[in-house]
C-alpha cells in the first residue's frame, strides 16, 4: 500500500491541460503563413467594419449629393470615390460589409450547427431516421442554390432575417451530407465501441468522440461555403431581392453601378475586391484550422 499512496500523491498533481491543447492548436496554426495572413486581413476588415460609426458617418453612405457624383478615388477627400448619386463609396463598402460579412457569418453558424445535428443523427443512427433526413436533403440539393434561396425569400418576403433563413436552408443539406459521411466512416471504429463499453450515451459519443475527429474537414467546407454565401447574398442583392436600397451591401453596390462600370471601373472593382479578399482569407483560415486541429500534425 505504501507504493500506492506514493503514486497517489503524484497523481494528485495530474492535470488535463486543456489550455495546453489550445496553445498547441495556436502554435500549429501560427506556422501556416497563408492562414495567418488570412486571419490578419479578416480581423482588420472586421475591426474596420465594426468600429465604422466611430470614424465614418453612416449618412455619407446613404445621403445623395449629386454635385459630387462620380468623383474619382482619392479626389476631394473621397478615398474610394463616389457613385452616381455622389455617395461615398468607402462608406458604402464599409457599412455594406456589416451586412455581407455579418449575414455571411451568421448563416455559416446556423448551417454549421444545423448540418452537424442533422448529419450527426443521420450518420450515427442510420436506418429510417437517416433515410428521412437524407431524402429531404436530396430534395433541397436538387434545386440550384440561388434559385431555392430566391424562392424562399419570395415566399417569406424580403428582409435580412428572411434572407438568412433561406441561405441556411440552402447550405444545411451540403453540410449535413459531409458530416454524415464522416460520421458513418467512424461510427464503428473500435474507440467508439470502447466508449460504449463504459456506458457513454449517444449524444456524448456524437459530440465528444466523433465530432472532434471530423471537425477539420468540416471547417474547411463550411468556410468555403461562407464564400459562396457572400456571393449568394451579393447576387441576390444584385437581383434586387436581397437587402432594400439604399442600405449598402457589397453585391448591391456592384449591381447599382453596373451601367456605369464601363466608364468608372472603380465602382465595380473596389467592392468586388472586398468580396474576393474576404473569400480568399476565409479559405486560407479554413485550411490552416484544419491542419491545426489535427493532433497528428507536428508541433
Amino acid at each position: 500500500m505504501k507504493a500506492k499512496s506514493a503514486v497517489g500523491k503524484e497523481g494528485a498533481n495530474f492535470k488535463i491541460s486543456r489550455k495546453g491543447r489550445y496553445k498547441l492548436i495556436w502554435m500549429r496554426y501560427k506556422r501556416n503563413k497563408l492562414a495567418m495572413l488570412g486571419l490578419i486581413v479578416l480581423a482588420a476588415m472586421l475591426l474596420a467594419i465594426l468600429t465604422a460609426p466611430l470614424y465614418l458617418d453612416y449618412n455619407r453612405a446613404i445621403t445623395q449629393n449629386i454635385s459630387a457624383a462620380f468623383t474619382g478615388p482619392g479626389q476631394d477627400g473621397y478615398l474610394f470615390g463616389t457613385d452616381q448619386f455622389g455617395r461615398d463609396l468607402l462608406a458604402r463598402v464599409i457599412y455594406g460589409g456589416r451586412i455581407s460579412l455579418g449575414a455571411g457569418l451568421a448563416t455559416v453558424a446556423i448551417s454549421f450547427v444545423g448540418g452537424v445535428i442533422l448529419g450527426g443523427v443521420s450518420g450515427y443512427f442510420g436506418g429510417k431516421i437517416d433515410n428521412i433526413i437524407m431524402r429531404i436533403c436530396d430534395m433541397l440539393m436538387a434545386i440550384p442554390g440561388t434559385m431555392l434561396a430566391m424562392a424562399i425569400v419570395a415566399a417569406l418576403g424580403a428582409g435580412l432575417d428572411k434572407l438568412l433563413i433561406s441561405l441556411a436552408i440552402v447550405t444545411i443539406p451540403g453540410n449535413a451530407r459531409t458530416v454524415r459521411a464522416a460520421i458513418m466512416n467512424l461510427r464503428n471504429a473500435e474507440f467508439i465501441e470502447a466508449a460504449r463499453c463504459y456506458g457513454t450515451r449517444n449524444a456524448r459519443i456524437i459530440f465528444v468522440h466523433l465530432l472532434p475527429n471530423i471537425l477539420g474537414p468540416l471547417i474547411v467546407t463550411t468556410f468555403m461555403s461562407l464564400g459562396t454565401i457572400i456571393l449568394c447574398i451579393a447576387s441576390m442583392g444584385y437581383l434586387g431581392i436581397g437587402v432594400q436600397a439604399p442600405t449598402p451591401e457589397w453585391g448591391s453596390i456592384i449591381s447599382e453601378n453596373q451601367s456605369n462600370i464601363r466608364y468608372f471601373p472603380y465602382l465595380g472593382t473596389i467592392p468586388g475586391l472586398f468580396i474576393m479578399i474576404s473569400v480568399l482569407s476565409l479559405s486560407f483560415i479554413g485550411d490552416g484550422l484544419r491542419d491545426a486541429l489535427d493532433p497528428k500534425m507536428k508541433n
Binding site: K4, G11, F191
Partner: protein, 317 residues
C-alpha cells in the same frame, strides 16, 4: 475457484442482410469462472468477435441469455444495465483505431471514470488514473501525450488501462496482441496474466492464434461458422483434440521446432464460407475429410471426457 461469473445460454446473434440472414453466432452456451480465461479460437468469420460483443451487450443478442452473476443482462432494462456495465469491459485488436486520436492518454483513461461517476472526487479520480497507468506500465509523463506519439505496444497498454480503471471483473479481449510485434506481444500477454492473478479478472480471450491462446487460457472453445465445435480444458484440448476442424487448425500452424519440420501435414482443403441461412447439420462437413450422410443432421455438443465437449457424431462415438 469454481464461482461462475458470466454465462451464455443458447446465445444467438443474427444479422439480416440482403443476401439472407447471417447466423454469426448460433446457439452458443458456455460459462466462465471468476479469475479464469476462456480462449475462443477460430478463423475469420467464425463469429468469435460477434460473440464477444454480445457478451457485454455491445450487440443486442437475437436470442438467448447472458447471465452475469445470475442476472440476465441481455434482456434487462438499459438503465439497469448501465449500473453493472462497468464490471465488464473490452480491449480491442487495433491499437490505432481503438483510441480516440483527440484524447490524450490521461483523458482516455479518465473518461470511463467520468462517465460511470464511480468516483466523484476529482483528486481521487486522478489518483485512480495514476495507479492504473502504473499498473499497466505507463510512465506518468505520458499523461498529456497524444496517442499518435506512442507505438503500438504502448497504445495497447493505454487501451488496457482504459478498461482496467473501472475495476472490471470480466474483460473481453478481442485479438489484443495480433497487431503487435512478437517481442511486444509477450509483454502484453504477461501483463494480462499478472493482472488476472492479482485481481481475479475473468477473460474471454478471442484470437485466431492457437499458440497465444495456449499460454493464457484455462479453457478453450473452438468455433466454426458461428457454432462451437469443440470445448475443453486447455491441456485436454491440446493433447486429445478430436474434432476434424481442430485437428486441421492445429496442423496448419507452422512451428519453429525443427523435429516437426517434415511431419505429415493433413491440410484442410477449401475455405470458410459465410453462414448465410445455413442448413441444419455440421457446417464443417464440406471441408471435412470424413464427412458422411449423417453429418447433414444437427450435431449437438457431446461430452466425451470430463468437461470435453465436441460437436461431431463421428468423434463422440
Amino acid at each position: 475457484m469454481s464461482e461462475t461469473l458470466i454465462q451464455a445460454v443458447n446465445l444467438k446473434k443474427y444479422f439480416p442482410t440482403n443476401a439472407g440472414v447471417v447466423h454469426a453466432v448460433d446457439d452458443v452456451s458456455f460459462s466462465i469462472n471468476a479469475g479464469e480465461t476462456l480462449g475462443v479460437v477460430g478463423e475469420s468469420g467464425c463469429g468469435k468477435s460477434t460473440l464477444g460483443r454480445a457478451m457485454i451487450r455491445l450487440y443486442e443478442p437475437t436470442e438467448g441469455k447472458v447471465l452475469y452473476r445470475g442476472q440476465d443482462i441481455a434482456t434487462m432494462k438499459k438503465e439497469d444495465f448501465y449500473k453493472i456495465q462497468k464490471k465488464m469491459q473490452m480491449i480491442f485488436q487495433d491499437p490505432y483505431s481503438s483510441i480516440n486520436p483527440h484524447f490524450s492518454v490521461g483523458e482516455t483513461i479518465l473518461d470511463p471514470l467520468r462517465i460511470s461517476k464511480e468516483i466523484t472526487d476529482k483528486k481521487e479520480r486522478m489518483q485512480k488514473v495514476a495507479q492504473t497507468m502504473e499498473l499497466c506500465g505507463l510512465p506518468e509523463r505520458y499523461f498529456n501525450t497524444y496517442p499518435h506519439e506512442l507505438d503500438g505496444g504502448r497504445r495497447q497498454r493505454v487501451g488496457l488501462a482504459r478498461a482496467l480503471v473501472l475495476d472490471p471483473e470480466f474483460i473481453v479481449c478481442d485479438e489484443p496482441v495480433s497487431a503487435l510485434d512478437v517481442s511486444i506481444q509477450a509483454q502484453i500477454l504477461n501483463l494480462l496474466m499478472d493482472l488476472q492473478e492479482s485481481r481475479r479478472i475473468a477473460y474471454m480471450f478471442i484470437t485466431h492464434d492457437l499458440c497465444v491462446v495456449r499460454h493464457i487460457s484455462h479453457y478453450i472453445m473452438v468455433m466454426y461458422m458461428g457454432q462451437v465445435v469443440e470445448y475443453a480444458p486447455r491441456d485436454e484440448l491440446f493433447q486429445h483434440h478430436v474434432h476434424p476442424y481442430t485437428v486441421g487448425l492445429l496442423n496448419a500452424i507452422p512451428t519453429v521446432d525443427l523435429s516437426k519440420r517434415n511431419r505429415e501435414r493433413h491440410l484442410l482443403a477449401g475455405e470458410v464460407s459465410n453462414p448465410i441461412d445455413p442448413p441444419p447439420g455440421c457446417r464443417f462437413a464440406n471441408r471435412c475429410p470424413y464427412a458422411s450422410e449423417k453429418c447433414k443432421e444437427p450435431q449437438p455438443l457431446t461430452e466425451i471426457a470430463p468437461n470435453h465437449f465436441v460437436a461431431c457424431h463421428e468423434c463422440a462415438k
